[in-house]
């Protein structure tokens, strides 16, 4: 029977205090996302027993791993968690199968090789059993490290930036495999990443962390739809403009932007706000076009950059403040966009989220 993880602790870091309260149900994955140095990795180390917090407790189901008040502090080797390290931390002096077998001390010596190779095969790395880590590619290392972490059937799985050491092509494939592994896991899992897209792909719930605290948590869809602050909105990939909001009689809110111009939102707000809009909600039109649709927001902007990614293009704009639009390569060619060209950016008031600054 799998049990959930409950952790609540405070640990002093160099510049701020890490204060977290986490609960992860069995069979689900929680992602801790945030900028570098927000305390995400330290949180994992506290749960694994590699870092002792100043106060707090960590328990898996009925089993306390740490309770500073009652003097409980199990060493890492007795906490039963599978830990995938950021750079995978494969033992350089041991071949792939011996890396996996390192954690199989309870298995009789004669059966270890067979068991380790079987686990490697489960992650598509069976033929790498005899290879030393230095001969493995990034993706192969990740598979061996994952096999090593999971070979012991840990009660809790922790992944520290599992995709950040991989090139983008490998990361996409490895991300899909990881999603399958996580879906099959019976215990709770915690993922640390600085990339919201990775978190959205792999986790059921996301906690956004900044300077040692959770500032908002929810599903990826909830966070994108209702970002609680400009920081979260920015993290979920939205472009954020700043301005001052006032209510109107019609029910829409009008925001006077700091750099000049006005936008409308269906969100109620008053005073200084952040205006979050996702790049794919923005439509670009040639200048001088008459308003003809339902989109209430129309602001004049100048193209500052064009970045083509596959069949899409990200268009950097300056409309008093920086803004980003995402359009297809087809539209890019039709509109003839290039740095310096003027455009009108339009989007609906209902696609405009107002968040705390």
């Amino acid at each position: 029977m799998s049990s959930g993880l409950e952790a609540r602790f405070a640990a002093g870091l160099r510049e701020f205090e890490l204060e977290l309260e986490l609960a992860v149900e069995p069979g689900t994955c929680l992602a801790l996302v945030g900028p570098s140095g927000a305390g995400k990795s330290t949180a994992l180390r506290v749960i694994a027993g590699l870092h002792r917090p100043d106060s707090g407790s960590v328990a898996l189901g009925e089993r306390p791993w740490l309770d500073r008040e009652r003097g409980v502090d199990l060493p890492p080797e007795r906490r039963d968690c599978g830990y995938l390290f950021q750079d995978y931390a494969l033992f350089p002096h041991l071949s792939a199968w011996r890396n996996v077998a390192f954690g199989l001390k309870e298995v009789p010596r004669r059966e270890r090789r067979e068991r380790a190779t079987a686990v490697l095969s489960r992650f598509g790395a069976g033929e790498l059993a005899d290879a030393p880590p230095r001969e493995l590619s990034g993706g192969e290392r990740q598979r061996v490290a994952l096999a090593r972490a999971l070979a012991r059937d840990p009660a809790l799985l922790m992944l520290d930036e599992p995709l950040s050491a991989l090139d983008s092509t490998t990361a996409a494939a490895a991300g899909r495999e990881l999603a399958t592994t996580l879906a099959a896991a019976e215990g709770p899992a915690i993922l640390v990443t600085h990339d919201f897209a990775d978190a959205a792909l792999l986790a059921d719930r996301i906690a956004v962390i900044d300077r040692g605290r959770v500032i908002q948590s929810g599903s990826a869809a909830e966070l994108s739809a209702q970002p609680g602050s400009a920081f979260v909105a920015d993290f979920t990939g939205a472009a954020v403009l700043f301005g001052t909001a006032r209510a109107t009689a019609s029910g829409t809110t009008v925001v006077a932007l700091d750099g000049g111009g006005e936008v409308r939102s269906s969100d109620p707000a008053e005073g200084e706000v952040g205006v979050a809009v996702y790049p794919w909600e923005i439509t670009l039109e040639p200048p001088g076009t008459e308003a003809h649709g339902s989109a209430l927001n129309r602001i004049e902007a100048r193209v500052t950059s064009v970045t083509e990614v596959g069949s899409r293009a990200r268009i950097g704009l300056l409309a008093g403040q920086p803004l980003v639009a995402e359009i297809t390569g087809e539209s890019l060619a039709r509109l003839g966009l290039a740095p310096g060209v003027g455009v009108v950016a339009t989007w609906k008031a209902t696609a405009t989220r107002l968040v705390a600054r």
Partner: protein, 267 residues
Amino acid sequence: MNRRGPFAVLLVAALAVTLAFLILPIVAIFADTPPGDLIDSLGSDASRDALWLSLKTTLAALIVIVVVGTPAAYLLATREFRGKSVVVTAIELPLVLPPAVAGIGLLAAFGPKGIFGSALADAGIELVLETAGVIVALTFVAAPFYLRQAQAAFAAVDPDLLAAARTLGAGEPRAFWRVAIPCAGAGISTGMALAWGRALGEFGATLMFAGSFQGITQTAPLAIFASFSTDFPAALALSAVLVAISAALLLAVKLLGRSPLLGGVQA
């Protein structure tokens, strides 16, 4: 390549002079006497006793240094504590101590009239003028060479490797044996070779603390010193043997440093 200006000529000349000066005495040891005479001279009891004693005492000292020094170096490399830099400096001090000062220090600590002299006498342990005293002197002068190397080697091991070992169910002792030691293997071997080389050449502290009695405390360097005024060929022969051993040690250090054997694969 740079164009050859006067400065480049100066650099090459400096290297040539350095090399000639450092190599000449070593070449002279082998050139001064025909090889046949060298081997004959090794037949004397004094020479054989000295070589055998050097081998025994340096190995004994090396064992003590490695057994006690390895965990000590690991602690210094992996833990932070108040006064650590003072401890590290204290350990390195014998490196720069003149051998005569080391000898006096050992006498003041463990000699018959030293701080621990009566305690050692009560326990029935005699060091001065005994083989055990040679081992003490060698350990004292050679240990810092090993400790420094081993500490640096352990400090260079990625802490995540040790953390990974712990999350895979290994207690700290197992992480130390199975991960820290193999990963620091090349540095540890280098430290062992350096310490052994230093012990093999030890002269001053041994002479002052243990004396120079054939078969008991007269190691190879002391035997060379004892015989050079009376039997120069014998002194030369012993020297040639020490040069050969030292050169082999140095070569071993260089090879271990880049060996794929340590830090390599165990399939």
